[in-house]
């Protein structure tokens, strides 16, 4: 890419008059590429914020451009130091000169793409020399971006001021240079309508972002037994129980109802006939569990069934109330089939 070498001093007349420190500072400020300065300040500021361990939404606000935009924008600025040329031709054909320097949609799109590449390469690089942790990642991305900004500034200064990319101008920002083609909302009435609509969208999105999202309400319950190592698991259940000998059974209950609940758990033993009908029924235990939202309890109970039979089931009936009546349907039921034997009989 051939680039005409340009003067390193700005064309801004404000920079060439006056004297003293204030004038010097003003002159220096006037030479700064505002967009690159913004990237440098943005990336260093973002890095400081992220390393300080802030939570959402601040980490979101600074983290998104830190990862998605600053690194790529610096890289695009290195590759494209020249100003955007507005092309209004309907179609670029081979009979004409090539297309002009890429416009801002292209530069923004490429910034996102190159940010992904830079971040991925930085991550892989960190993996080779250190651990992938927040500190090394933030520092490495910042360093790469700032180096890109410096190189981009150097390349821009090799061009005449008028040929340099300067979306925000130099010294004093001129936002219009980026958005001049984006507006075109003509009447003030329509402009204000659009502004109000945007405020509505931002307001809605912000409200949704800071307000807890809808979560469904549910309760979990499960039956556990002790394995060889003493852990409570949902396998290897006893299949035969001797009358008179108690059997350990653990009932787990977890509250995800978004309110405190006192659960009532009934342990019921039922002897089932050949056609699936309940022949005998016996409640062997009832206990209550008080749980706040997100809490769980595993109650270890000794069950001592006395209903003899080869198709007996133990049911753990969970009610989301403290005083369920016998007519109430349980909210949840888990069951375990066992054979209950009485060595003293027959």
């Amino acid at each position: 890419m051939s680039e005409p070498r340009g003067p390193d001093t700005p064309a801004d007349p404000a920079a060439s008059d006056g004297s003293g420190l204030a004038v010097g500072v003003r002159r220096w400020v006037a030479t700064i590429e505002t967009d690159l300065a913004a990237v440098a300040v943005g990336v260093v500021g973002s890095a400081s914020v992220l390393l300080s361990g802030v939570d959402a939404p601040v980490s979101w606000i600074v983290g998104v451009p830190f990862l998605l935009f600053w690194p790529g924008y610096a890289t695009v600025s290195v590759l494209l130091p020249m100003a955007v040329q507005i092309d209004t031709r309907p179609s670029v054909t081979a009979d004409q000169a090539g297309p002009p320097s890429p416009g801002w949609p292209a530069r923004l799109g490429l910034s996102l793409l190159l940010s992904m590449i830079v971040v991925a390469i930085v991550g892989i690089g960190i993996d080779r020399v250190a651990s992938i942790r927040l500190g090394p990642a933030v520092v490495a991305i910042s360093v790469v971006t700032v180096v890109g900004v410096v190189v981009a500034a150097y390349r821009r200064r090799r061009l005449p001021p008028a040929a340099r990319a300067a979306p925000l101008g130099t010294g004093r920002p001129r936002v219009g240079s980026v958005t001049s083609g984006a507006g075109a909302v003509r009447s003030s009435r329509h402009r204000w309508t659009l502004v109000l609509a945007v405020v509505l969208l931002v307001g809605t999105a912000s409200f949704v972002a800071v307000t807890p999202a809808y979560e469904s309400s549910y309760t979990e319950s499960y039956l556990l037994t002790e394995n060889d190592t003493g852990s409570l698991v949902a396998e290897g259940y006893p299949t035969t129980v001797v009358v008179g000998e108690s059997q350990l059974l653990a009932v787990g209950v977890e509250n995800h109802e978004h309110r405190p609940i006192t659960y009532t758990v009934d342990l019921v033993v039922e002897r089932v006939g050949p056609n699936g009908s309940v022949v005998d029924q016996q409640r062997v235990d009832r206990f209550r569990v008080e749980l706040a939202h997100g809490e769980r309890s595993i109650a270890e109970r000794q069950v001592n069934p006395t209903l003899e039979g080869d198709t007996v089931r133990i049911e753990a009936r969970v009610y989301k109330s403290t005083t369920p009546s016998t007519a109430d349907e349980p909210d949840q039921t888990t069951r375990l089939w066992i054979e209950v034997v009485d060595p003293t009989s027959g």
Partner: protein, 649 residues
């Protein structure tokens, strides 16, 4: 087309109208395939091709050049951006209130697309603001996708349950990429590395992926505009951008954010570079093309294959143009060397990378994939050996309700419109004075992808995952479609133009946003398509069960797709539940969920052996009362076999 160029057949007078005639004839012949298969595509593709070719042929047979562009009043165009933004706000609000997508959110999303397309298509030149349209497209794309992601518990889709909780969380936990060491992503770690760094910045892997790749994927639509504006005017580039942003397959990869999604972003960058190199000579473009191409290799294998095809075609077209085109049209030696070099380099890096990439078997990925392709072509392929690899199918499992037969046609309407405009654009490209290398690259790449997606599926060759190719093909189709509409605007009568624009603006977005792939989280046709997202209770069941029931080398059965979460998040060997008349045919624990009573999840039956929709199998067949029921929440239960009852009481 009067000038001589490197491709004489392109210079043939009236080649475009000749091909249009061939297209009309071919569409009639293709329609006869419908006699051999119920595939809806055997209607959609021929009819679309026939209509597009007829339209093109018809408007270019017109003797008059009198064309008047249809426009809407200025006040309407001015108010539409506010309509778009208000609709987006309403979309966010309704989804928040409903806790997910509902019919109103589909209508609002479609309204947004329609309002944007109307601005792009029907604004007077003096009222047109392409950049304002592109801003609306970009904002809409981000809002539509992120609002879904943030109201949906867990993740949307299948593979992401492995990529994020297993690989990215694994990298974060280990502090290194060792979590990928035994996977096929060992040599393609870009997606997971980005996800891991974002997870560190945002505090969780889910948030990290959503706020990094979840934002980049929809915003990559800017690259479509940047590409389009090089070959059509800003109005039509804005149309291409809108068409792509609302395409179902593009929405799909913005919801199911996996390496394919990032591969698509890099692919769009590569297409931008290739297009630019066809019309200019700039070294920085070669640099970006190299970066995009290698990034694709280091991200995703299928994306790499697609990119290599486009690069290969572009390299060949530029070389040919360099050798044979007339001097004013010849690309420079540097451009040709650059593109050829990028293609060869990418090919070599791909070969080396794949040869050291592990896959399921002991052999490297390169060998395994070639062997799979060989096996597919030799042993499985056959004419009309269909399995819906091209996307939505009309058959498969049993359908619930009579309306199910019509749904595929509604869903393919958007695709048909995109294809029709793309065909018109392809024919128009043969007529216009674009560099021949650009014309060949676009047309050959699109046709190759089309054949890969639909043609090879026709023969049962699905090893190349044709469904993954569609979003990539859509990008080229959207640009060609914009060219087609631009061509129509110059040749068609006002009445025809208005009809085309109105049909496109009203039908395209609405059809696209309700398709199966665009609504994985909450299907618009919920009795036809399974939901590929899960409720809080369903996710909690996986987490709790994997905590209380050892998952190491343990089998577990459930419906498809729920079983996949047990496999990926739970660590089980998960199977689709199989039942006979008496109950489960295997002793594996069975996971039953309420969704199986009304949603089109799939289970297997052995009498006869086939896949059926879960609602056709009673709850007692999946989890018979004679089994232990050891876990329950309000939506899910787990039953295990027991020797006590032997399966019957």
């Amino acid at each position: 087309m009067s000038h001589q160029n490197a491709f004489p057949w392109l210079s043939t007078d009236h080649l475009d109208t000749t091909l249009a005639k061939v297209g009309i004839l071919a569409s009639v012949l293709l329609l006869s395939l419908r006699l051999f298969s119920t595939q809806v595509l055997f209607v959609v593709i021929p009819v679309t091709t026939g209509l597009a070719c007829t339209l093109y042929f018809g408007i270019h047979r017109r003797q008059t050049t009198d064309t008047e562009y249809p426009t809407l009043p200025r006040w309407m165009i001015d108010v539409l951006p506010a309509v778009v933004v208000v609709s987006l706000a309403a979309l966010v609000g309704t989804m928040y209130v409903a806790g997910g997508r509902s019919p109103s959110s589909y209508v609002l999303a479609g309204t947004v697309g329609t309002a944007i397309l109307i601005q792009a298509l029907l604004a007077d030149e003096s009222d047109l603001s392409p950049s304002l349209i592109v801003i609306q497209v970009a904002v809409s794309a981000v809002v539509i996708r992120l609002s879904v992601l943030f109201v949906t518990p867990g993740f949307v889709g299948v593979d992401i349950w492995t990529h994020v909780p297993v690989f990215i969380d694994g990298i974060v936990d280990a502090g290194s990429l060792s979590a990928l060491a035994d996977s096929k992503y060992r040599m393609a770690p870009f997606y997971h590395t980005i996800g891991a760094l974002a997870a560190l910045v945002f505090g969780s892997a889910r948030l990290g992926v959503y706020l990094s790749l979840g934002v980049v994927v929809p915003l990559s639509v800017l690259l479509v505009y940047a590409t389009g504006v090089m070959i059509v005017s800003p109005r039509w580039a804005a149309v291409a951008t809108t068409l792509f942003a609302f395409a179902d397959q593009y929405i799909r990869w913005g919801l199911h954010i996996i390496p394919t999604s990032l591969g698509l972003v890099f692919f769009l960058g590569a297409v931008y570079c290739v297009t630019r190199l066809c019309v200019t000579n700039e070294r920085w473009v070669i640099a970006v093309l190299t970066a995009s191409s290698l990034a694709t290799v280091f991200t995703h294998q299928v994306s790499t294959v697609i990119l290599l095809i486009v690069l290969g075609i572009a390299a060949g077209a530029l070389t040919w143009a360099r050798l044979l085109d007339r001097p004013t049209l010849r690309p420079t030696r540097g451009t040709v060397a650059g593109v050829v070099g990028v293609f060869v380099g990418t090919l070599l890096v791909t070969g080396v990378s794949w040869s050291v990439t592990p896959w399921y078997a002991d052999e490297p990925f390169l060998y395994e994939i070639l062997d799979t392709l060989r096996t597919t072509v030799i042993e499985e392929a056959g004419f009309l050996a269909l399995a819906g690899g091209g996307g939505r199918s009309a058959g498969g499992t049993e359908s619930v309700g009579q309306v199910a037969g019509l749904i595929p046609f509604l869903e393919w309407l958007g695709f048909a419109l995109l294809l029709a405009t793309g065909i018109v654009g392809g024919l128009a490209m043969l007529r216009t004075d674009h560099p021949s290398s650009l014309t060949v690259t676009y047309l050959a790449s699109t046709v190759t992808m089309f054949v890969a997606v639909f043609g090879l599926s026709l023969f049962g060759v699905r090893a190349i995952l044709p469904g993954r190719w569609m979003a990539f093909m859509y990008a080229l189709l959207a640009i060609l479609g914009a060219m087609g509409l631009a061509n129509l605007s110059e040749a068609a009568s006002k009445r025809v133009l208005l009809a085309v624009f109105v049909v496109l603006a009203l039908s395209y977005p609405m059809s696209m946003v309700v398709t199966e792939k665009a609504t994985l989280d909450s299907p618009a046709f919920e009795e036809t398509h399974a939901r590929f997202s899960y409720t809080d209770a369903e996710i909690a069941a996986v987490e709790t069960i994997s905590g209380i029931y050892p998952s190491e080398e343990t089998d577990i059965d459930s419906d498809h797709p729920y079983r996949t979460v047990f496999g990926q998040l739970g660590g089980y060997t998960a199977w689709t539940a199989e039942v006979d008349e008496s109950g489960p045919t295997r002793d594996h624990p069975v996971i039953r969920r309420v969704y199986q009573s009304h949603g089109p999840a799939v289970v297997h039956t052995t009498d006869p052996s086939r896949s059926v929709l879960a609602p056709t199998v009673s709850a007692d067949r999946l989890c018979p009362p004679a089994r232990n029921k050891v876990y329950a929440n309000d939506e899910v239960s787990m039953c295990t076999s027991t020797s006590v009852t032997g399966g019957a009481v």
